[in-house]
Amino acid sequence: MISRAVCEAVLQKAASTGADYAEIFAEHSLDHSINMVGGSVESVNDTVIAGVGIRVYKGLRSVMATTTDTSESGLLRCAAQAAEALGQGTAQIEIVLRERLYGDIHPVKIVPATVPNKEKVDVLKEGVFAAKEYSDAIKQVTGTLLDIDHNILIANSDGVYAQDRQIRTRLMVTAVAEKNGETQTGAARPGRRMGMEMFEHEVNAKEAGIHAAKQAITMAGASYCKAGVMPVAIGNGFGGVIFHEACGHSLEASSVAYGMSEFTGKLGQQIANPKVTAIDDGTIPNAWGSINVDDEGTPAQKNVLIENGILKSYMIDKMGGRRMGMAPTGNARRQSYAFTTTSRMTNTYIAEGTDNNDDIIASMEYGLFAKEMGGGSVNPVTGAFNFAVNEGYIVRNGKICEPVRGAALVGKGSEVIQNIDMVGTNLDMGQGMCGSSSGSIPTNVGQPLIRVSSITVGGR
């Protein structure tokens, strides 16, 4: 994209007023999605994102400038703007870039951008029609086949000059079922950091459609969940969103470094039930949230966050690391050049435990089995969170009974991880888009079946 020599000149300019760190993030990306509503292809989104973000640091001060003018003169102008905003001073650092090849631990066999639209439509239709034809109760189906092809370049005053190509593919099917005039939805959204070969062995489009339809029908027949405090078993895969929201965000440097996290200053302390080991791993081959190198040029890592309940590590970007006096952990991410990088999750999950899955359900006299979770949000300062339960069942005398809708799990991160008292053995991952100050990025959440001994269930 941009030559090493040009990057050196631009970084030199950016650091000319006394910065102690300077960085270029350049990207040329293709985002492509085909959308179906009902049985027909309704729209195609097809965008080239191209621009550059230049950042400079001096101590704890950070400045960013962005531009879509990627000519050498455009980049130098942008660098000069960043340098000027940083303040007045003289150059303190020397820029010498050495090209690095991090390799690719996420091989792609079929680059989506080279697959004709028509072939993509065939795959999408397989998913959508599987949902549509599942039952007469299915009143509407929407589907999206998304592929993203991000070419990024990172050059910084630590000497890094590296490029990466991040290719991701995802199928999303949402089904709407109607029973007695009430509508409910069900969804499946599998994705991987791979190309169209995802549909050869990893993801079956038809199964995704059927999953969405079944869930919608189950929920349309359900009565409202009664509110109360009770034990809750949370299903594997996307159930991990509870850890992602309630604890993961509070372990990001963007919260911890600013004292805005309930886990600030707690390294080495018991913060969770000894049953809980939690990991953020950007190196899982071809996983949705995986990277080769983060958006500041740090290689991806596997970070054990919590081991047997003890806090072992945070997720740290360069600026967070400066504030905390700690090294970056390969978690610096941004949606695009237009966002300021910060510490984010990659693939974050609760590791497998030793409890038998059947024992977990059998242990509950009266409670909720949240088989599939929906989205959630958290306030990192207080740890207060709220999650929707997309598919839930009442558990009575150790048996899974009738489905219930409209349930939400409400609580506080630091409390809920103390209350995870059983951890099963069926670890799986679910895909999501995580929104935060550096934009919307692909992340995996995951866990085996777990039990929370007591939590507030919102319903009516």
Binding site: E42, Q140, G376, S377
Partner: protein
Amino acid sequence: MNFDSFKEAVVRAAKAQGIEEYELYYQAGESVSVSVFKHEINEFSSNVNGGVCFRCIVGGHMGYASTEDLSEASAQDVVRRAADNAGILETQEQEFLVEGGQTYHPLELHPYELPTTDKLVETVLAGEKAVYDADPAVIDGSSASARTNKRTVAIFNSKGLDLHYENNSSVFSAEAVVSNGQEMANAFKMEAGSFDKLDLAEFVKEPVEDAKSQLGADVAPTGAYPVVFAPKAMASMLRTFAAIFSSESTQRGLSQLGGKEGETIAAEIVTLIDDPFYPESGTPINFDAEGSPAVTKKVVENGKLCTLLYNLKTAAAAGVKTTGNAAKASYNSAVTVQPFTMYLAPGDITEEELLKKAGNGVYINSLGGMHAGANVISGDFSLQSAGFMIENGVKTKAVKSFTVAGNFYSLLKQITAISDKVELPGFGGITAFGAPAVLVEGLTIAGK
């Protein structure tokens, strides 16, 4: 190249590729933002962004392609990709481009000089100080930030349309983090508009008081109560469920209001208005994302659904005229339907009188987790809330960590009183939502 040269390149490329009906939509922005942490400027950013969306009707279908790369090669590429994308579409609805030469509501653009970078820095430093000075419970982590934005939108099409719009805006926000030694709480406030009118000491009172009230707050008791939504909480409900008023949602079976125009869908006291020129919105605009004239309309009047919101395509499918509500989430998004400033019209009683009417209930000051706890299609919601108990018609002790649950379609009918003052929480975008305080009967609170 600049937009005008790119436009010419696109016209040439379209001609060369035999495309006759097309539109080029351009959106560009320049923003500067500054934030402060522990009394020092910690982040400064200056962003230039922008892109174009080319769309064209080929074989009766509208294909789209977008790019941020404004070069000659990119102009040819974007035209080719859009035509290619049109080739796989299967929609039955007819596609339209707006005819040129229409009449637009005259826009009174208030001459609005953006604050300089120095002024931004000065304001955030003073704003953060005001937060610390407001109360001894305020701790580090409290912050302030300010942002200016210049926005340009242009639409050009093969039917003689050539519109252009520029708007300046600025936003100030402050976050208060407080502690009582045992626990922390925070609250945030944002306001768009000129910094000259900003009284910082006054501005920070609300977030500081909101945060403080949450310290030591109890969990609300579970039960069914009369619930009062604060104006900002009601505005956030409207934002969350606004899609039910979209004809695109009804035509796709994703809203239950399809075919209900003329019917009663809300309590008689409910009137809902969409106004592109609402005085406090900060971003008045006189054309929509297709270039149709933007107009003010009553969506609901005295409980009756007057009209859904339409763009050209959905209006043609329904056999009505567009309401000028075509919208794009971003320059590269497909045209959809959105309100401009949608607000619940004020009633005739004060908020104090509204509380008296509630008697004993719960006052919801803030809502969270909207994307998780609300199902826009079914209307069901179960939302994380914080607020106060209402006892004998007055707000008493603070409560938190509870959910309020119900169904939005039912809620519209369960509104029994509306206060007399609309608030428009600042978001600074083209789409904004406002509401007075409302009293709703029959919602469920889940707490302890």
